[in-house]
């Protein structure tokens, strides 16, 4: 059997999947990329079911199918992408009970558009399994190698091709595959080449994709005189540097700034990633900082004289200039976002690099890693740091805060931002996290060690190893009062008196009842801060999950209680965009579970597959084994992606590295599975044992590994990930082909393939929800459980139902 076509089809299938998630991230919002995973696996599962039901017929025509499918893939790929572009889906209308229904129809149209491609891809791959049952290990290895190559190829393409150009760049691989089919090569190649020419013409001349008109980029781009100054492509996204009159330093400045004589925040360039603004970038010339004393984040510089500052998030360089103007003597500025870091060091378009300054050190490190170096007087986290890169969320956990506090001088300060624009309750969750960090550092009376102050839009927590003195609190109160900011918490605060002197009324509401509960001027953060600090019940803590963010459960915008789904749907309109992903995961999980159940039950309902009495026993093991493998593999993959992203400080790179290693490793494992042909149970037991030992080691050693590896060069960190992940990946490549070998020459083989695909769809949203609600240790524990289940449910000889046997050898078997 020639494995090259299989390799190329797998490459393209994974490449298309990745390209489509990038399409949704750019054209829409990345949360909706979960559907792509669902559509992919649904296509694969459906192909497995069809092949299970019509195995003999399809196997008889395998040669013809292998010749025709590349052209079919190219055609459905081009048409499906075009239909996707034309789909008028507006995710913003999903959050309105009056307008959501047509959007659900548009989602269904996405499935209709993209399913054919992935069905044909799954059919091609599963047909390879069916027609080469004597070489299942090598077939699986070629499949995984192709998928891995697809991952690497798309990653490389992302540096040179815009996200909307990835799919046209991938289609030629399918035409290439057609020229290597074993039979009907000339006709297959000609058909695929013609299809490629037509498909590329359609994609080049037909409807063109665009970033959603409802994303923040659109309005600035359409102002008079707007210009795009620079464009960069990267796996993290498509970056555009814009010059238009709306671009200014976006800082939370006092409403009384003009009255206080502060100049306006200066004009800047704007840097957008996939249509969302991530930073202001300096224009040529000196950075004006006259506004800095009027900004919310300036307060710590009034409390500390000439501090040595660890700054998390350089905000394009503006924050460095601001804090130097506010009196910092030394600044270690951390910018882990790769394009922002490059802009600081080398400039971007006409924006110059940050000027050399002996007081300033710029490093692409995470603040958690940097906090284990020299001590600082102030650790200042910029307001835009959390949203600048997905991996930055790891800087806002209990363990991170505890590390920062240990890094401070005895009178030092930690300054933590939190947006209260959507939900003021986020400030309470940040408070809970700070409280937990103080407790981890041995401080059990947090009241005196935390101050909260705010504007209408943002709050800041100041946390100190030493109690705040009355003089410091008086200074804080005056500073805030001068600028129409409010203080929401300090030790022994008089909350009723606070309400009488508010500048920014923040009324309390009941999320459950849908009512405003405040009866006058109110500060809903002040109302509940004491309860949060003492871990006591409060209204918000009952309505939301305000438990402290941890390294195990780092997702910060994850306070909705998903168990109260009817209430969440009733309040859908006020839910922040950052929380919508969880609901999308739930929807995908529900749909995936139904489909997986259908695939599982297909043999029960197919008349030709009606079983004799003893067959029920023989069906149970494959029904457990293959779903368990799918769940276990994906659980470990998602765990590994999260931890690799934290180590590499970048989610896109973490994703690509982990996926490549796991697919290559599993491919190697599959290749080696033939060594266990005589005793496949041993191979499965070995794999299960390795997974259990590896998972246990991860739970015990991972925090140390992450910390130790954080300061290494990028290549060394990637090598570390390879060394850690490879053994488990190779082991996880054994069970699937060994299980398939027990089903060779049976109709159950494609059914098992379909089961694996269907439960892979279940695994992704399930793992995300487990991680969100219980932590990543739960995901790892789930993986151990699944591999344990696989070990004990490995299909046995002599227990297969009669319907699974095919007396005739396949006419196209290798």
């Amino acid at each position: 059997m020639n494995f090259l076509p299989l390799f190329l089809v797998s490459l393209t299938a994974l490449g298309m999947e990745t390209a489509l998630t990038r399409y949704f991230a750019a054209a829409s919002w990345s949360d909706y990329g979960y559907w792509v995973i669902s559509i992919v696996m649904l296509g694969f599962a459906a192909s497995g079911v069809i092949l299970a039901l019509y195995r003999d017929l399809l196997a008889r025509h395998a040669a013809l199918l292998f010749a025709a499918l590349p052209a079919a893939l190219i055609t459905t790929g081009a048409l499906g992408y075009t239909a996707t572009i034309l789909n008028p889906f507006n995710p913003l209308q999903l959050q309105n009970q009056v307008t959501y229904l047509p959007q659900l129809q548009n989602i269904a149209l996405y499935y209709a558009a993209l399913l054919p491609f992935f069905f044909f891809a799954g059919l091609f791959i599963s047909l390879c399994f069916v027609t080469a049952t004597a070489r299942l290990g090598r077939v699986y290895a070629a499949d995984l190698a192709g998928a891995s190559a697809g991952c690497v190829a798309v990653l490389a393409l992302m540096y040179i091709v815009p996200p909307f150009g990835l799919i046209p760049a991938l289609l030629p691989a399918l035409a290439f595959a057609a020229w290597f089919t074993p039979k009907h090569r000339l006709r297959a190649g000609a058909a695929a080449t013609l299809a490629l020419l037509a498909g590329e013409a359609l994609l080049a001349l037909g409807p063109q994709p665009a970033i959603s008109q409802y994303k923040p980029l659109y309005a600035p781009l359409h102002t008079p005189g707007a210009r795009i100054l620079a464009q960069k492509f990267a796996p993290q996204g498509e970056y555009l540097l814009l010059d238009d009159f709306t671009e200014r330093v976006n800082t939370d400045i006092s409403n009384d700034a003009a009255m206080l004589g502060y100049p306006d925040p200066p004009r800047s360039f704007g840097l957008y990633r996939d249509g969302t603004r991530i930073a202001s970038i300096p224009r040529p010339g000196a950075i004006a900082t006259g506004y800095a004393p009027g900004a919310l984040d300036a307060l710590p510089y009034q409390l500390l004289a000439h501090p040595n500052v660890l700054l998390a998030g350089a905000s394009g360089g503006f924050r460095i200039a601001e804090i130097l103007a506010l009196g910092a003597t030394r600044v270690t500025a951390l910018e882990p976002e790769p394009i922002l870091y490059a802009a600081l060091r080398r400039g971007l378009g006409p924006s110059p690099p940050y000027p050399a300054d002996p007081r300033v050190t710029i490093a692409p490190l995470s603040p958690v890693v940097a906090a284990h170096g020299e001590k600082h007087d102030l650790i200042d986290i910029s307001a835009d740091f959390m949203d600048a890169a997905p991996a930055n969320v790891n800087a806002f956990t209990t363990q991170a805060f505890a590390a920062y506090l240990t890094n401070l001088t005895p009178t030092g300060l930690l300054s933590i931002p939190v947006s209260i624009e959507d939900f003021p309750a986020y400030a309470l969750r940040m408070l809970a996290t700070a409280r937990a960090a103080l407790a981890a550092d041995g401080i059990t009376d947090p009241d005196a060690h935390i101050v909260i102050y705010r504007s209408a839009w943002n709050a800041r927590l100041l946390v100190s190893p030493a109690p705040f003195s009355p003089a410091a609190i008086a200074l804080i109160a005056k500073w805030c009062g001068d600028r129409s900011f409010d203080v929401s918490w300090y030790n022994n605060i008089d909350v009723p008196a606070l309400r009488a002197n508010l500048y920014n009324d923040l009324p309390a509401v009941s999320f459950d009842a849908g009512t405003v509960t405040a009866t006058g001027p109110d500060d809903s953060i002040a109302d509940e801060a004491a309860a949060i600090l003492h871990n006591q019940p409060s209204v918000s803590a009952a309505a939301f999950n305000l438990s402290a963010a941890t390294d195990d459960r780092p997702a910060f915008y994850a306070i909705l209680r998903l168990t109260n789904l009817p209430l969440l749907l009733a309040r859908l309109q006020i839910l922040p965009q950052a929380e919508i992903g969880a609901l999308v995961n739930l929807a995908v999980l529900a749909q995936a579970t139904i489909i997986a159940a259908l695939v599982l039950c297909i043999p029960l309902f197919a008349p030709r597959l009606r079983t004799p009495k003893h067959a029920a026993t023989g069906m149970i093991r494959p029904s457990l084994y293959f779903p368990a493998l799918a769940l276990g593999f994906l659980f470990i993959e998602i765990f590994a992606i999260e931890k690799a992203s934290a180590l590499l400080n970048d989610r896109a790179t973490g994703f690509a590295v982990v996926l490549s290693i796991m697919l290559i490793g599993a491919g190697l494992g599959s290749f080696c599975s033939t060594r266990f042909a005589a005793a496949p149970e041993r191979g499965v037991w070995l794999a299960g044992l390795i997974v259990i030992v590896w998972s246990t080691a991860m739970l015990a050693c991972l925090p140390t590994l992450l910390l130790a590896g954080g300061t290494l060069p990028t290549l060394a960190r990637v090598t570390l990930i390879v060394l850690v992940l490879a053994p488990a990946s190779i082991a996880m490549g054994l069970p699937f082909p060994l299980g398939l070998s027990r089903l060779e020459n049976t109709a159950a083989l494609p059914w098992a393939w379909g089961l694996n695909g269907a439960f892979s769809v279940v695994a992704t949203p399930l793992a995300n929800l487990l991680a969100r609600n219980f932590g990543f240790h739960a995901v790892l524990a789930g993986a151990v459980l699944m591999y344990g289940l696989a070990v004990i449910s490995f299909p046995r000889f002599g227990r297969q139902p009669a319907w699974l046997s095919s007396r005739r050898p396949s006419p196209v078997a290798d």
Binding site: Y214, T246, N250, V516, G520, D527
Partner: protein, 310 residues
Amino acid sequence: MAQFTETLTRRGLIGGAIAATLAPSAHAADAASAAALPGTPPATPNDKPWTRAAFETAMAASGRPVSLTDAQFDAIQARKPAAMQSIASYLAMRLGAPDPAVLAGFQAVPREYYHYNYAEHRTTCGDAYEQPAKPWAIGYGSALSDYLGQAYMTQVCKPGPNDISLEIGTGSGFQSSVLSRIVKSAYSIEIIEPLGTAVKKIFAPLGYDNITTRVGDGYYGWPEQKDGFDIIIVTCAAQYAPPALFQQLRPGGRMIIPIGQPFKQGQVLYVYRKDAAGKIHSRRDMGVFFIPMTGTMMKIPAAQATATPS
């Protein structure tokens, strides 16, 4: 320019017929509201009957020609009374009582005139006064917000006949139009060039001669208006309101910043006011999503406020 013919769905015609059966006539409502508020601006555009011909003439004059049948136009008008009743009920539930001036403003402005997708050059007038109320895309990333949310925001602005208003983010022009029926003069700035250029032309055909618009940067407000503004609405703010706008806010004036995406049923509002000392105070108004507890419409003094929400 090509003529566009609007084809109403059966839903629109049937809904209009039902509304006509259940609700008072539009003309009666016009007369009633005009009689209730002496001195208010004309209850219909140009103080003339708002007929199909008047509608088509105005649309053509604004560069958006459209052709309707009498049945189609009547169906739209037939839905209006029910929509007005919805607005009144909505404002009563959330703010205690509807402001008669706000109701008069919504009554006077023909909402179907603003149902237009400028990017697609397509009218959606047949959807006006829909039940339930919902937002509509008008192209270029903008939306015509649902009329309930707009009514809420209009009433929160507390518009009066001597007020001068400024809106940063003209959008469809509906908000400025409603305010213009209440205030002395309305100014509006749109930052998106193609949208602002098109919407600039829609006010004159209705006789709304107290609206002044332009395309450009709204950051510095409208400094030529030396007297400042009583009402400022900023629909495209970052995370702070431009200091120049506060300088142009008169003492006692209100600045409203809606936040969140425009396709929800209303938006959370930040409401700013300037005190006697010139210092700025803000209030987060979530009234479109959270209604006051029963019996708490009147604010009690802060000293009597409880320490934790009940």
